[in-house]
């Protein structure tokens, strides 16, 4: 027994595929001038060695290492995240590109002996009792790729430690991920403790068992349905959006 599957299912991903390949689209987005073009291409391809080689040459010719971060590495990474947002490339490409870009940033920092100013500080953690951290890893990588400094507290993080980190770092945003219904209850406690301390930092929560209804039940909570929402939310905060506006933007259900 066999069937003609076209009558019972639709492969929308095949139907919707763009006529141009990701490589062709990326090539059109690379800057025209050198060394930006070569370095952007190396970031897109996730080739760390080529990124460093490009930076080395540029610095050798007198370029300012810290300026290269803002003018070359970050725009190069933005091409990658834009293509990801458009659904043209997949997450592993972003992760490999981020690895390459971050190596480039480290190289520039070492070369100049100074550090660039990040767009903002974000504290990331996985709820106490929860060891599922791949979601947090993706969130942290996407935030770093967008120019934020990430203070990664890791997984299974006690509430006290989260509160202490927020007090110490004064982040623009806190993120929490959890896979299990019982561990996500810690988010509510964090919310209450932050409010008690008079801290009203947006607290983005997401992950397997976490849902919008639960996150909306505490004041600082904003539901992040996808990891890619993290940099979008941070950018919205930078643009001046408050808690109510963030909930409007990101509570889609």
């Amino acid at each position: 027994m066999d069937i003609d599957p076209s009558k019972i299912l639709v492969r929308y991903n095949v139907q919707k595929e763009k006529a141009q390949s990701p490589d062709q689209m990326a090539a059109e987005m690379f800057p025209k001038a050198e060394p930006a073009r070569t370095i952007a291409k190396a970031i897109y391809e996730g080739e760390e060695d080529d990124v460093i080689e490009g930076l080395e040459k540029a610095i050798g010719k007198g370029a300012d290492a810290i300026k290269l971060i803002d003018d070359v590495l970050m725009p190069g990474m933005k091409i990658v995240t834009d293509l990801y947002d458009q659904g043209v490339i997949f997450l592993p490409n972003v992760m490999m590109a981020a690895d390459a870009m971050l190596e480039g940033i480290e190289y520039c920092k070492e070369s100049s002996g100074s550090a660039p100013k990040p767009k903002g500080v974000v504290v990331c953690h996985v709820a106490e009792g929860d060891v599922h951290d791949i979601g947090k890893t993706i969130v942290a990588a996407l935030l770093r790729a967008d120019g934020y400094k990430v203070v990664d507290l890791g997984r299974d993080v006690p509430v006290d430690e989260v509160i202490a980190a927020v007090k110490k770092e004064s982040p623009m945003m806190l993120t929490g991920t959890a896979l299990m219904t019982t561990t996500m209850y810690a988010f509510k406690e964090i919310n209450d403790r932050l409010l008690e301390a008079g801290i009203k930092v947006p607290f983005q929560c997401g992950g397997g068992a976490v849902n919008q209804d639960f996150v909306a039940s505490y004041q600082l909570g904003i539901y992040g349905e996808e990891a890619a929402d993290a940099p979008k939310m941070a950018n919205a905060i930078l643009a001046g959006k408050g808690l109510a506006q963030l909930k409007d933007m990101f509570h889609k259900h």
Binding site: M1, D2, I3, D4, P5, I8, L9, R11, Y12, N13, V14, K16, E17, S21, P22, G46, Y84, G87, V88, I89, F90, L91, P92, M95, M96, D99, G129, D130, V131, D133, I134, T137, I138, A141, G154, R155, D156, V157, M180, T181, T182, T183, M184, Y185, K188, G208, A209, F214
Partner: protein
């Protein structure tokens, strides 16, 4: 291979059925619902609250089962961490649940089973701690739930996950073979040898594992057709490697029913003949996948994966979903009685087979071929995982001729890249293991091979 031909595999019947205490047999000619649940978030604050939550939901499930007239039901309690870290908690909950099942069994004759799945607590914050104190606590938890009355003992182990999480986000197929197939396999051998001993001592069934921590991570990161997080061609490669890895549990003494979220279980049943639990269309309360009917094809227990305990219009959530599962089981059992089981199996399989590469490979005919590839080098954890990948790529490549499974250019490119990386791999396990050890020790800062694996 436990079966001569793929066509010999059918839902409800396994070569080696297993028995629970209260009349339930799994794989003995009928399919049974396996109901899964999670306590409400606030129930985790104390032992009393947790015990009360499980008492209520167990009673709800049993009450609905007799109200609608179902002949059998099995329950699975996946521990929240407090229940495993405090073995007496899990033990007491198992006892409370089993007592309720006994009461219903005694009063109505309903056949019942109870699975307990302690959480894999073997971690120390950011690091896996597979061997040591946490391992001992985990074994105490198994002892306690077995003593409390759990018929089936299961776990979702995490061996290899520290490397896998790194590899999967970098399209690294050799890394997936190393993490799931080799490291995961080594951990499975250690832990399942001990679980089987406990089961034997307590007269319980060492049921089986699932590669939830890795292959399901790949499947969920892969997501739906339009998601852009991982090519589904890579997600299915993680899955077939998991076939080799989950098999280790059976080699070390597990007897089934395999865990519901082990989508690799069709491969496992083909090789071992042990009964399996599966989940699909009636687990949409927990997650979405692209093969909701297909996974019923050769199941013996039919599960809803997990649902938070709360109220719905139709009763509590566990009542609603247990009814759905039981109705599915009734349909399958009707087809068995009327001689139409293979017809129903094939209808369920075909309705999803061409939906995406994962369903295509897990369709029982192709899963059987993957099983054959695994057993070809059955004594070599590396080669059998590699074989599974090679066979899967071969099947997907061959499907292009038929033209029924459509793959996006991205999926095809990911497959081609995977093939290139596999073609470049050695056939020598020792070389692969030492190269991988050096590579991931350098690249994955949380990888502590000496502390976590018995080499």
């Amino acid at each position: 291979m436990a079966y001569k031909n793929a066509d010999d595999m059918i839902f409800g019947t396994a070569v080696h059925p297993v028995k629970a205490e209260l009349g339930l047999q799994v794989g003995a000619g009928y399919v049974t619902a396996e109901v899964n649940y999670a306590p409400r978030p606030e129930a985790g604050v104390s032992k009393e609250k947790l015990v009360s939550e499980y008492r209520k939901l167990t009673t709800d499930i049993m009450a609905r089962a007799v109200q609608i007239g179902f002949p059998a039901v099995s329950l699975e309690t996946e521990h929240v961490e407090q229940m495993t870290n405090n073995p007496t908690w899990g033990g007491e909950i198992a006892h409370v649940q089993k007592t309720i099942l006994e009461e219903y069994h005694e009063e109505y004759g309903i056949k019942c089973g109870l699975r307990h799945t302690p959480g894999d607590i073997r971690e120390d914050r950011d690091l896996l701690a597979l061997i040591g104190k946490k391992y001992d606590t985990l074994m105490e938890s198994f002892e306690a739930v077995a003593e409390g009355g759990a018929d089936f003992l299961s776990i979702e182990t995490m061996g290899g996950k520290e490397v896998f999480d790194y590899a999967v986000l970098r399209n690294d197929v050799p890394g997936m073979i190393y993490s799931i197939g080799c490291l995961g396999g080594m951990d499975m051998e250690m832990i399942w040898t001990d679980i089987a001993k406990i089961a034997q001592k307590k007269n319980r069934v060492p049921a089986g594992d699932t590669d939830c921590a890795q292959a399901n991570t790949a499947m969920f990161v892969g997501g739906g057709l339009l998601d852009k997080n991982l090519a589904h061609t890579l997600a299915i490669l993680a899955r077939v490697i998991a076939g080799s890895r989950t098999l280790v549990g059976y080699e070390a003494g597990a007897k089934g029913p395999g865990k519901d979220c082990g989508y690799e279980n069709t491969i496992i049943k083909a090789i071992t003949g042990c009964p399996i639990a599966q989940e699909g269309k009636s687990a949409t309360c927990a997650h979405a996948d692209v093969m909701g009917n297909l996974t019923m094809q050769v199941c013996d227990l039919w599960s809803n994966e997990s649902v938070e305990y709360h109220g719905e219009f139709g009763g509590t959530s566990v009542q609603c979903w247990s009814q759905t599962l039981n109705m599915d089981a009734a349909l399958m059992n009707t087809s068995i009685q009327t001689g139409n089981a293979k017809m129903l199996r094939d209808l369920m399989c075909l309705s999803d087979k061409y939906r995406d590469p994962q369903g295509y490979i897990l369709a029982y005919d192709n899963a059987f071929k993957v099983g054959q590839a695994i057993v070809k080098d059955g004594n070599d954890l590396y080669l059998r995982a590699k074989n599974a990948v090679v066979e899967t790529i071969k099947i997907l490549e061959a499907s292009k001729k038929e033209g029924k499974l459509l793959m996006s250019r991205f999926e095809q490119n990911a497959l081609a890249d995977a093939k290139a990386s596999i073609d470049a791999l050695t056939n020598e396990k020792d070389t692969f293991m030492s190269d991988s050890l050096a590579k991931y020790k350098a690249e994955v800062k949380v990888f502590r091979p000496e502390a976590n694996y018995k080499w």
